[in-house]
Symmetry: C2
Subunit: 329 residues, 2 copies
Amino acid sequence: MSQLTEFELIAQYFSRQKHIRSDVLLGQGDDCAVVTTTPATQIAVTTDTMVAGVHFDAHMPARAIGHKLVAVNLSDLAAMGAEPAWLSLAITMPEVDTKWIEDFTAGMYELAEYYHCQLIGGDTTRGPLTLTLTAQGLLPEGQKLTRAGAKPGDWIFVSGCLGDAAAALAVQQGLLEATDFVRHQLEERLFYPTPRVALGQAIRHAATSCVDVSDGLVADLGHILQRSNVGARLFLHQLPYSKVMLGLDEEQRRDFALFGGDDYELCFTVPEEERGALETSLAHSGVSLTCIGQIDKQPGLRMFDHQQEVSAQGRGYQHFAAAKDSPKG
Amino acid sequence: MSQLTEFELIAQYFSRQKHIRSDVLLGQGDDCAVVTTTPATQIAVTTDTMVAGVHFDAHMPARAIGHKLVAVNLSDLAAMGAEPAWLSLAITMPEVDTKWIEDFTAGMYELAEYYHCQLIGGDTTRGPLTLTLTAQGLLPEGQKLTRAGAKPGDWIFVSGCLGDAAAALAVQQGLLEATDFVRHQLEERLFYPTPRVALGQAIRHAATSCVDVSDGLVADLGHILQRSNVGARLFLHQLPYSKVMLGLDEEQRRDFALFGGDDYELCFTVPEEERGALETSLAHSGVSLTCIGQIDKQPGLRMFDHQQEVSAQGRGYQHFAAAKDSPKG
C-alpha cells in the first residue's frame, strides 16, 4: 500500500537470515514472532545493549560490533547452561549507512548461525546509535546453572585466559604501548569474543554456580560469592594469560585480569568430588580450564600470591569500577 | 564485593516489581531470567523502542513514557491474540535522575501489573535516552492471529476511535489550535494509549487477520492486505471518532485517522458468518467496535465516502509517511 521508507528498506537487511529453526513458527513481518518449545524445556532470557561512544567507538569495525552484540548475549546464555535459540534486535541509527548495516548483519549472522540461533524480530528506529539484543535459550527442566549454588570447598575454575580485552582498550586509549602485532592480537579478543556456549552446557551437571566474566573477574566472581553467601580465596599466580599478555609486567597483567572485564570467559565452581571427572571429560574440548581458587565460608574475597595474602584493593580497582555502567537488571 | 555504582543503584528500581507470576522461575539478578510454559502453549515475542526526541519529547511526563512503552508492546501481543506474560527492559540514560526513574517505573508497573505481566530482566546503560522493551505473551497452540488470513468478503473492524493521538501531536507542534480541555483529552490518548489485550484474545477464534494501528489505519490495514494478498474498500463515513475529534473539520479528522498513527486500536477482519456472534458477544465488553470496510479480491485500498470513491493519495499521506521510522523488523 505504502512506499517503502528508507527505514523499511533497512529492516529488510534484518530479515535476510535463512529460516534455520523449526521451533520458529512465525518470524519477522507480523506484529509478533511466534515460537514454541518441546515439553520439559525452560527458557533463559537475557538482554544486552551496546551504545556508540560508550561500549564501542570508531576503532571498532561494524562486523565486530555485530559479532560482539551476539557474543555478549550468548555468553549470558552460556553462563546459565542454556542452548541459544532466538534473537530479537532493536537497532536505533542516526542515518542509513548500508555498508555499515551489511557488515554489522554479517558479523551478527555469522555467530548466530554457528550456534543455530535465529533472529525472529525487532524494531528499527532513528536516533543515536544504540543496539539492544534480547537472546533466548533452552534449558532442560530444572537444570539452570545460577550464581547461587557455590559451597565452601568448591574449586573455582575459569575458561580460556583473562585480561586481553582490557589490555586492548588500554592500548587504544594510549595507556599501554604495544607493537602492531600485539595490538592486533589483543583487539581480536576485544572485538570478537568467544561465548563459551558448549562449555556452559557441558558443565551444567557438575558445576554448582557459574557467571560470565564481563565486568572483570573480581566483580563477577563477587556476584557468585554474594548470591551464594560464601567467600573465596583466589590464587593470583594461577590466573591464565594469553601469550601476548605474558609480555606485560605482572602487576599490570593482573589488574587487567582482575578488574578489566570484557573477557566473556566462564567462571564457575565445582565440588571436589566432581573435579576429576570434569577435567578429564573436558581435556580435549578445545577450551582450557584453570583452577584459580577455592570457595570458603568466610565472607569476602582474599587474594593470594604463592601463599602470601595480597590486598584486594589493588590500584586498578577503583579506576575500572568507575567506568562500569551496565550491571544486569 | 564491589561498591554499588550509581547505575547499579538505578537497576534496583527495576527489580522492585512484586513477583506475580509462577512461571517466572528466576527473575532479575542472574545472567539470565528463566521462565517456563505449560504444554500446548506457544510464545509471541515483540520488541519496540522509544527514542527521546523521536518518539517522545519534553512534553511527555516520565510516567506516560513508562506507560506507553509497555502499551505499545502489549498492543503487538494483543494483535496476535496473545496473553501478556514477561517483559525485558533495556534502558539507556545520559545521567541518573531518580525522580524521572521513579515516575517512569511507576507508569510501567501500573500497566504491566494490570495485565499480570512481569519484568524479568534487562540492561541499564549510559548514553542517549533510549528505551527498548521486549514483551512476550502466551498463545494456545495453533491459535495465533496473524496479518495473513483476510479473505474477500470479510468485514473490516476497528476498535475504539481513531486519530486522537495524531491530533494531539499536531496541537503540540502548533499545527492545530485547541482549547486546554481539548488538548488534555487528546494528549491522554497520545500519552496513555490502551492496549486492546482482552479484545485480542476475545476475537482470536472469529477473526481471520488482525493488526494494531500504530502507523495509521492506511499503513496498518495495508499490512493486512499485503500479507493476505487481497484488497479492500474502506468506508470513510464510518470511521469512529472521539467526541473532541468531532469538533475538527472532516478532512482534517480523516487525515489524522487514516495517516496519523499512535492509536493502538486493533484493526481486524471477520467473515460474514462470524460477524453477528462476535458483535453480540462483545456488545457489553466496554470496547466499541466499528465496521469500517470490506475485503475484496482486487488488490489495493479503495476509499468511499457514502458510495463516492475518494482518492487514496490524500494530502496527509506523504506528510505523515515521511515521518515514519519504525516498521517492525
